[in-house]
């Protein structure tokens, strides 16, 4: 691979005693759509603000196209940004808002007019040119903000939870727009969200943030199939955790003992193993097989059904092991095991050890 387009090198940000970002390293390829996903307060915005130049890092460096950005003030970085809050200039019309970055760059009027038209077309808001931001819906305002941020052809576009103020349906609609615009313009996008579905839908790669650290970077399927930490496993997709004992551990694989079953061999292992110590077995609710009797030949856990919830296209079955640990199963609607299932029934949950994970 050639030199990465954007490099975040050991960025750290301290606010007095609080460390918001701990030595984050990240390489971003040109044209990539990379999302920072993480819970509130995990340092996503802070990292983005350092890229934008609103905050100086305590240490570390940001390199764009081989050049450090840190000594360049915000207004000379030529970076686009869409904010969580509505930041259109309220005294300017939609057209004037999009023209703003071009006017401060003193481009000729004809060029500005043409670009404003192109941008309105890109975000599908032709004819809204003369409206004031206050006369637009939240979704429309964010689309104008996107047009304004792309008007000067920035090499890098930052988006800090731009859709969090919108309702679910509108959010999905604009996610589609953002994808289309990303493909059309080939701009590199760094996107922040705490919504895993949004991250999975939009991104080429996802960086999962936790307490100021990137726990794992990868594509959605990679993070789902191979979570590096328990936090990532919990954050991407649904997960069940069962306490277990570590019997042996070697080469990223472990044999574990679960109460009520024999030793389960060859489970993918993460973390620092202590043989004979405690660990957690992670299972995906949608990959568990529910059967009435012990399945011959495959690994299974006996449980008691505690609740059954209908969730539209699938059914959520809450169960408990003999030791009282909760284990959720998700079955497609119409699954034959469901029809006569009742609370209190004793059933077996089978799984493939290779698709499970052990976290220490």
């Amino acid at each position: 691979m050639s030199k990465p387009f954007l490099q975040i090198r050991g960025i750290r940000k301290e606010y007095g005693p609080v460390t918001a970002v701990h030595d984050v390293n990240l390489d971003v390829a040109q044209g990539e759509f990379l999302t920072f996903l993480g819970p509130s307060g995990s340092g996503k915005s802070t990292t983005l603000y350092i890229l934008a130049g609103f905050e100086d890092p305590t240490r570390g460096d940001i390199v764009l196209n081989g050049q450090s950005l840190l000594s360049t003030p915000s207004h000379k970085r030529n970076i686009g940004m869409v904010f969580q809050r509505y930041t259109l200039f309220p005294h300017l019309s939609v057209g004037e808002n999009i023209a703003f970055p071009l006017k401060v760059r003193r481009l000729p009027k004809a060029e500005i007019d043409a670009k404003v038209r192109d941008m309105l077309k890109l975000v599908r808001l032709e004819g809204f040119e003369d409206r004031k931001p206050a006369q637009m819906s939240g979704g429309q305002q964010q689309r104008v903000a996107l047009a304004r941020a792309l008007a000067y052809d920035p090499p890098l576009l930052l988006m800090d939870e731009p859709l969090s103020a919108l309702d679910k349906k509108l959010r999905e609609e604009i996610q589609h727009e953002i994808r289309r615009i990303h493909q059309q313009t080939e701009v590199t996008i760094l996107y922040v969200t705490h919504d895993q579905e949004e991250a999975l839908r939009l991104s080429d790669r996802i960086a999962v943030f936790s307490k100021g650290v990137i726990d794992q970077i990868g594509t959605g399927p990679e993070l789902y199939a191979n979570p590096a930490t328990r936090f990532v496993a919990e954050f991407i997709g649904d997960s069940d955790f069962l306490p277990c004992d570590l019997v042996t551990a070697a080469n990223g694989r472990a044999d574990i003992a679960l109460a009520g079953t024999t030793v389960i061999p060859n489970v993918p292992l993460h973390g620092k193993p202590v043989v004979g110590g405690k660990a957690a077995l992670m299972l995906r609710p949608e990959r568990l097989r529910l059967t009435r009797s012990a399945p011959g030949g495959s690994t299974a856990v006996p449980v008691t059904v505690s609740d059954i919830t209908f969730l539209g296209n699938n059914i959520h079955v809450a169960t408990q092991t003999a030791k009282g640990d909760a284990l959720a199963v998700r079955l497609p609607f119409g699954h034959e095991a469901i029809s006569s299932l009742n609370r209190g029934d004793r059933v077996w949950l089978g799984f493939d050890p290779a698709s499970a994970h052990v976290f220490c």
Binding site: A52, G53, F54, F83, H91, F100, R105
Partner: protein, 291 residues
């Protein structure tokens, strides 16, 4: 259903002793006082201005026809305009600083502002007299520093009035401007910066237009208050630049000419109302939020 009908029935004949918002007859005594002490005197003044010494508009013709009086009008507008301009020039940065500084510093500045507003007007004006006079602190310091040889004429002229009145009017600019600037989302200025606007462009193209309603409100208030100001121009101004309020006082007190005094007062009132109408037209109460 039943309870709703009950409530409706009860609502139609309100039991005595219960207050509703439409019981405005309670406000009648206050309205009566307002009419008695505000509307009536103005009406009497109006009547005297068209009836003394002889019935007709002679007083107005004299007031608006004589160059002496017109010069006083012009001077009144000049002083008010200057005071408004200088107040805006100083008030904007102060309001801006107040809006962004940590609140414990801002509250100290506010305390100073309010304290000065609550200090007796005469005391404040005499204090400026002491500071500005030929042998005052300012001239002494400037001479001591070798910046000037002779004391500057800072009092009994336009400079003195402008300084004294600007000082008194500043809070009336700073407070509304502070309110408007506080409401501006800092992210809007961050967005402007990323769009490529340097500080100056952000100030001129974003911050100033957004602060405009506050500036207009403050400026109008200061301008109108200045038009009718008496104490400070009388003490710090010179005879060469008399203001309208001083003229009115002279008509009534020295010349006992109620006709001319009333005419001058009414001209002032009409100008004030006209300015208020202009402000309502361009920055009507519903447009004051800045959105």
């Amino acid at each position: 259903m039943l309870s709703r009908t009950d409530a409706k029935a009860a609502g139609s004949k309100i039991p005595a002793g219960r207050l509703t918002l439409t019981d405005f007859d309670l406000t009648l005594p206050a309205l009566g006082l307002l009419v008695l002490f505000f509307v009536v005197p103005v009406a009497i003044l109006l009547a005297r201005s068209v009836s003394e010494p002889v019935p007709g508009f002679g007083n107005y013709a004299e007031l608006l026809g004589s160059s002496t009086y017109l010069r006083i009008f012009a001077n009144t507008f000049l002083v008010s305009g200057l005071v408004t301009f200088v107040s805006l020039l100083i008030g904007f940065p102060v309001a801006w600083a107040l809006a962004v500084m940590p609140s414990r510093f801002a509250s100290v500045v506010f305390a100073i502002l309010l304290l000065s507003m609550w200090t007796n007007l005469l005391a404040r004006t005499y204090a400026w007299m002491v500071l500005l006079q030929r042998t005052g602190v300012i001239n002494k310091v400037l001479i001591g520093l070798g910046l000037i040889d002779k004391p500057l004429p800072l009092v009994n002229n336009l400079t003195g009035v402008t300084i004294g009145m600007t000082y008194i009017m500043l809070p009336f600019i700073i407070l509304p401007l502070y309110g408007v600037i506080r409401k501006i989302d800092p992210a809007i200025l961050q967005a402007a910066a990323l769009c490529g606007a340097n500080r100056w462009q952000s100030l001129v193209r974003v911050l100033l237009p957004l602060a405009m309603p506050g500036m207009a409100a403050g400026a109008l208030m200061v301008f109108v208050m200045s038009l009718g100001y008496f104490v400070t121009p009388a003490l710090l101004g010179g005879t060469a630049n008399m203001m309208l309020a001083e003229l009115i006082a002279q008509f009534v007190q020295s010349l006992v000419n109620w006709g001319m005094g009333g005419a001058a007062a009414l001209v002032l009132l009409v100008v004030t109302l006209a300015l208020y109408a202009v402000q309502l037209r361009f920055f009507g109460t519903d447009r004051m939020g800045g959105r």
